[in-house]
Symmetry: C2
Subunit: 336 residues, 2 copies
């Protein structure tokens, strides 16, 4: 991002811009506020690809009528440790917010629990949900799929979504350890931003529509992304399809693509969240200290970074100095 | 493997050789039989790195007294959906065998369940355990760590084990879909076999002891392996450390390395298994057919292979034609 091309916004500015635009275009208060918080958190954490950049997509889907801005998600317990959240065709943030209480209570009591979230439109990062679980003392996993834009290993056509998987580990002192990684070599939002900024992609991120490797973000967006780590990343992408679609009766990436109205917003689908209570896994009195020893040893290695640390540093910095938002994105948002 | 350097063995030959050698060196009948079955299954599936090649290591650890060949694993329910299996300092296969019944019953009833296996020495692939769960109609995950031989992304020293993660998906018709992949770019057993055979490694598998990239398997064994897919594979390796050590009160890779007597056999540690009953996740009547549609579409793409299919083909072929075992490995086993 070139220096002259951004403006600096404070947390409350981002929250109120997002909230206002969402209310204006048909979200009710609860939905607007949960989405605005998610967008703001992404900006604060230094992930513009999930921040205000996504707001036009949210609003496109409100305008087209694909997504219900007044959704009222409901929780149904469908098995002793499984809750199903009916998303009511809404955006994910409110459904997630509704899922937490029963998920956390169930995991705390039983050791392990799942939240099956269906009939939602997820357009955000997944670290929000797993970080929240870790802040409540739980280990968290989250999985979801999206439109088919990634070729399975060996193929040259899109079939998987970028298929993120997020994981969190709670810590008594300090912030949870959190990763949230696409099984695509690069998140699609980052490729879209590279295309807007005219910068090149690293090798191995994608192929053009003829199946040839390309570093041009526009050609890759027209062609197809690749998984990280070859066939191993492809296996993980497949696992994520099975967990967040096959298992829970929601759409696979290929079905999301078929059913979507291509309004620029998120496709309809589901998400699987699993929570683990480490106090019930046999090392109640020591797991915290034991895992801190692991992190201490890990951090002593030269060149090491703990997943999620950069986001936390960005967050702290954003609280003091505000967030740099690309001028072109800010203009687009203001025109909404 | 060069043509003149192997002999062909039948399933029952492999089983009886392994069983006999294990009994001779201090395993009781139950332990010997479970280990021999695991070794045989690896050979049948075309994975010699987990087959007879490992038998000298099993026996070294019996001879050194590190591992209890007469272990008597016990199951203790420690939370509503968590069973802990005390491995009694034995090899993993018997402890796994003991874990299945309570794990499967608990997952079938509650939707989700975990088996925490501690105080074991795991020297096999993980696909056995997850395949077993899938054959019982469950989705399975398994995670374990080992000696530190893999550098976290950014570092040049070993800290993680090869840290495999296995996943299985049940199918009514045909074999389960199973993957079992090290978070190292290559399984250590394969590098050891390359070193024995004098063949080169692909780029990106490891570095020598000075931290320089190397294709020489001996230099990589002296130096350090790398994770698959850069920092994303490294995040997964870290997750596996936290799940199969931090969570369950067992040793991290760095602790396994510190405590091990280096007899050539497996280190002491734990394993986490998670089982999911897809009939309790909200799509009881359709998930089978729906996921078959996914596999059918996936298989239509040019260049695609479903994880686990090659092993199943090898298994079928081995039943008819027997298994090719390297002559040098066969000789070593015979001399035990």
């Amino acid at each position: 991002m070139k220096k002259e091309n951004f403006i600096v916004l404070k947390e409350e500015n981002i929250l109120s811009i997002a909230n206002e635009k969402l209310l204006k275009h048909g979200c009710d208060f609860r939905n607007a506020f949960e989405i605005a918080k998610t967008i703001t958190a992404a900006e604060m954490d230094g992930c513009p690809a999930h921040g205000l950049f996504r707001l036009p997509g949210f609003i496109s889907s409100l305008k087209s009528g694909k997504v219900n801005g007044e959704s009222n998600p409901k929780v149904v317990q469908i098995a002793p440790v499984v809750n199903r959240i009916e998303g009511d065709r809404g955006f994910a943030p409110l459904a997630l917010n509704v899922s937490y209480k029963p998920l956390i209570e169930c995991a705390k009591k039983n050791g392990l629990a799942a939240a099956v979230i269906v009939d939602i439109h997820h357009f955000s990062a997944l670290w929000h949900e797993v970080e929240y679980l870790a802040l409540k003392g739980l280990v968290g996993f989250a999985f979801t799929v999206a439109k088919p834009v990634v070729a399975p290993s060996g193929a040259k056509e899109p079939f998987f979504g970028t298929n993120p998987m997020a994981f969190s580990w709670p810590r008594i002192k300090g912030n949870p350890v959190v990763f949230d990684q696409a099984s695509a070599a690069m998140a699609r939002g980052e490729i879209m931003i590279a295309a807007q900024e005219g910068s090149n992609l690293p090798q191995g991120v994608g192929i053009d529509k003829n199946g040839n490797p390309s570093k041009d973000p526009k050609k890759v967006l027209d062609g197809c992304q690749l998984t990280f780590g070859g066939y191993k990343g492809s296996s993980i992408a497949m696992m994520i399809e099975l967990l967040s679609a096959g298992l829970i009766g929601e759409s696979f990436s290929f079905e999301r693509g078929e059913k979507d109205n291509n309004d620029g917003g998120p496709t309809r689908g589901g998400e699987l969240i699993i929570a683990i209570n480490p106090n019930l896994f046999g090392d109640e009195n020591n797991w915290h200290e034991h895992s801190e020893l692991f992190f201490t040893k890990l951090m002593k290695l030269e060149g090491i970074r703990i997943p999620g640390d950069r986001r936390i540093k960005n967050r702290e910095n954003s609280k003091i100095n505000g967030v740099k938002v690309s001028h072109s994105i800010f203009e687009k948002v203001n025109q909404l």
